[in-house]
Symmetry: C2
Subunit: 568 residues, 2 copies
């Protein structure tokens, strides 16, 4: 029987219960969203006592299936006011699954204690779970937190933590997860999950799975066979997966630049004259020349697309220099210096801020003229202010929409309060439909697809709908979305794995229904939180002002966009 | 035939047209809200090209009826995202009415010109209207703007202007109106109307009614008789009106303190130990000892409740030290020094920020610990930063909700993004229902009433509904709300005036229907802008944490609150 951990941060108690029947058989995003929808009042204050932070591994975590260890973190979002699931790589999902823990539900807030005394560490072990004071960690960045906790608890534990941004309850703050090297490089970045964790006085979760066991599929032989076949398919895959393997996620930059979807100069264009300087091949070349390597972001991944990056003195700087980060802090700010981008990445990982949201916020800052486009030094100085808690730092830490309000900027790339990620919807209209309609706010991981018909607004709603459904089940299985974009027969691999895991048939129809269920659940929460179709809109400049290189606006008719949920 | 002025700020053209039939017979709030609902796309960017700023005198303006010269200013609000009407005293309504202008509709934004070149002055004369460059006024506060424009155009013109806050498009910014002394002391304060004016590059409107004529009622004799009777009734009125006349609007402080509705320490209490120091009697005593006096805020008012205030050296500091200002910058911040409060009032009038919204924002700042409660010097220094455009200044200028987001504060007194004014809804549950349900966001002028049943949550919805309907027609007639709270038979006075004005019967049912029509119109806009009943909620702490002195929470059931619009 899988367990559910309830952590009461008002009374500092941990309770372990069996997973209630209504949550049975769910994992990852399906589980976090179901719990949030069921247990969190939709109109509550996201940083108040009624919100809950729900952490769940996916259904395939701990089984050894490749790319299966994404960790889902859900809550009502301080950034959007709607439901949120944000997932990341790292080592926590594997360990939770091995410990038979379906979800950790963090509840309540410390009502009357002053901030400095508020912070605790949750320790999860095979036979017990408890909270410990963490005064020595309060005010520290994620790298220091990880270092100290590893020193205290050993190198093998997994650490999930917040930096200063989460402590300050900033709406752009992340929950960091330690990677294979024990560094806090993997972030559940979007939607301010760090602020929810911070509001509850939880600085870190330390998971020690000593004595735990691997998840046992009902039909081991069939499972192993399916997993091996999928690994083989991934390894043999050309195209996108090969590009990931050799150039990391920024490997797509030349294509995106040609498609016109590379956000440039605060989304005022979709192509960047210095794109070649920030493309994956260039980054990997610098990284390798400094002795760094590529690695996998979670234990079971055979793709290994994450680029570790060293500074000019060949010292570790940051792990996982990803496309979204490079584009939002690079082309979006007219910054082509990879060292500067990597340093910003490191600083944001440390204080625990979303590189996408903060890149967009910095774009808005530059649009206002407060900092000039391309001025990486000033951008770095501004990011350094976040950890210090200055108002300027807190402003960018609160995201692009709030930054735009304060600076009186009209060009603010955000939907439902969340900034657009690095796929420009004026040239990729499928992702534009996803930005409009996803319960997550503007989010590429909620459903993205590139097609060749950029000039044609037709058919985009159906494609977005299908991708959103797919991501609904991919995120619930705990699978990395990239692994779904390579080998043919992906759904078949998933049904084989799920059938062998459960020891009873799991069909493609079950996958689709799981994906639809996730979307219905999230849509229900948002509706009760006050969202309507009026919120399913891109910023108006994106439908009115054409951008380079293709002179396009987002022109999918909104009455078509409004039909996305028909049939879900 | 009344005229409608359309001012195209993209092309710098002014067009005078006859009032279209669909707007005929409307004035004040009814007219601004009807035009906004009809002409502004509800999901548009409030500081973008599609929003319109609509300025309209009420139906009784220019007739000589007492207290009839409130000026309505409407738009989609940058603060709430919903429809807004904010009204103020001053001299503009009278002059517009004398010029036969039913409304000024400011449209478009200067798309490509840099900010410094954006600002213009609209000059309205009897026979012509035109735009002039205002580069010398850009960056100046309202007092300097008024002084320079009076110097250029003479002492008799009326000036409507924005300060630096409006230029910066801050969501807490006001539109200032010059008073009887030609000073910018009257502010359409709520909802960021200054930001809309600023986004359009309109720095000021100068109205010269030389050669214009008084509005001629159809039945002059009956009108004069009704107006005289109403003036007499106001003059003879005891109780509230007498209190206004002798102690100004802060005269209510002792009562509010006893009722438990005086917001104290960021709304964490409803009574203040030093209330007597900031009460109207004390303020008027200081004012008079320094040679200042009380005056009327608009030409036809016989009450004269506005307190002019001089500094310690007997020099003019600010006009109209009002209750909301005194409470929000006084008890709400634990500041009892009237000189400090008056100085903050002056500084906020000058840069053009709402004293209510900014008082609430400063309360949130103090809640965060950034400034200590009671530290008036630091509060004054922070307010001074607004005009300088620092990020700290812009933060408080963006209102309480944004300030709360940036500072990670849980106790943020706001509904629909607009801060609560100075009547604590935990002790006055009627106004609490109004805060929840008004299309304006939390707004006392949308419908307030004090009753003696503070411990009883019943009957509050009906009372709020009736007051909201009344304010709908009061604001459309252009009447001051205070004049409706004194003499018996108010509706009878209004129907006599309207009947004589139009030369045909105007009944109490017509007044009620006008009020309901206003609410329906505004509710329709907000619904299309994405508002639902989920937004008709007070901050959760107000329903959960009891406050002194009566140990009350807001406990009107939300399913009752949700019935407010039934029958409207």
């Amino acid at each position: 029987m899988k367990k559910l951990l309830r952590v009461d941060m008002a009374n500092l108690k941990v309770n372990i219960e069996d997973v209630p029947s209504e949550y049975a058989g769910l994992g990852g995003r399906a589980l976090t969203s179901t719990i949030v929808n069921k247990e969190v009042p939709p109109t509550c204050d996201p940083i108040g006592r009624h919100n809950k932070l729900v952490i769940a591994p996916g259904l395939l975590a701990g089984t050894g299936a490749p790319c299966s260890e994404r960790l889902s973190i859900g809550a009502k979002s301080p950034l959007t006011g709607g439901i949120k699931e944000s997932n990341s790589g790292g080592t926590a999902a594997l360990k939770l699954a091995r410990l038979d823990i379906a979800a950790v539900v963090v509840e309540g807030v410390p009502e009357d204690r002053p901030d400095a005394d508020n912070f605790h560490v949750l320790k999860i072990e095979n036979d017990k779970c408890f909270l410990e004071e963490a005064r020595d960690l309060a005010g520290q960045g994620n790298y220091t937190v990880c270092e100290r906790l590893h020193k205290k608890y050993g190198e093998r534990v997994s650490i999930t933590s917040i930096g200063q941004a989460g402590e300050m309850r900033l709406a752009g703050s992340t929950v960091a997860g330690s990677d294979m090297e024990g560094m806090p490089n993997r972030h559940a970045g979007r939607g301010g999950m760090g602020a929810v964790m911070g509001s509850k006085g939880l600085k870190a979760i330390v998971i020690d799975d000593t004595g735990a066991h691997a998840v046992q599929p009902k039909d081991k032989e069939a499972f192993t066979k399916a997993a091996r076949d999928f690994v083989k398919a991934l390894r043999e895959c050309k195209g996108f997966i090969e590009q990931l393997r050799t150039c990391g996620t920024p490997g797509g930059i030349p294509n995106f630049n040609a498609f016109g979807t590379l956000p440039t100069r605060n989304f005022s264009a979709g192509c960047y004259e210095h794109a070649e300087k920030i493309q994956g091949a260039a980054i990997v070349e610098i990284a390798k020349s400094r002795g760094a390597k590529m690695h996998s972001c979670s234990p079971s991944c055979p793709i290994r697309c994450s680029v570790i990056y060293h500074d000019a003195s060949h010292k570790f700087l940051v792990g996982g220099v990803e496309y979204e980060t490079v584009a939002m802090l690079g082309s979006n700010l007219l910054i082509s210096d990879v060292d500067a981008i990597a340093l910003m990445n490191r600083l944001l990982n440390d204080c625990g801020l979303d590189t996408i949201e903060t890149g967009a916020a910095l774009g808005v800052v530059m649009e206002s003229g407060l900092i000039k486009f391309g001025d990486s030094e000033s951008a770095i100085e501004l990011i350094k202010e976040v950890a210090k808690g200055t108002i300027r730092g807190r402003m960018i830490g609160s995201g692009a929409a709030v930054t735009g309000k304060i600076l009186g900027v009209k060009r603010v790339p955000a939907v439902k309060g969340q900034s657009l990620p690095a796929h420009h919807p004026q040239s990729n209209k499928i992702v534009g439909v996803t930005y409009c309609t996803s319960p997550m706010g503007a989010d590429h991981t909620a459903g993205i697809m590139y097609d060749q018909t950029v000039h044609n607004p037709e058919g985009k709603v159906e494609k977005s709908r299908n991708m959103q459904i797919q991501m609904g089940f991919v995120d619930s299985l705990g699978m990395c979305m990239f692994s779904s974009r390579g080998p043919a027969g992906y759904n078949d691999f998933m049904t084989r794995l799920m059938t062998a895991l459960n020891g009873k048939p799991y069909t493609e129809a079950d996958l689709i229904e799981l994906g639809k269920r996730v979307l219905r659940t999230e849509h229900d929460f948002n509706k009760r939180a006050g969202f309507t179709k009026a919120h399913d809109r891109l910023p108006e400049f994106m439908t009115e002002i054409k951008i380079k290189p293709h002179d396009l606006v987002f022109d999918v008719p909104y009455d078509e966009v409004d039909k996305l949920y028909d049939g879900i």
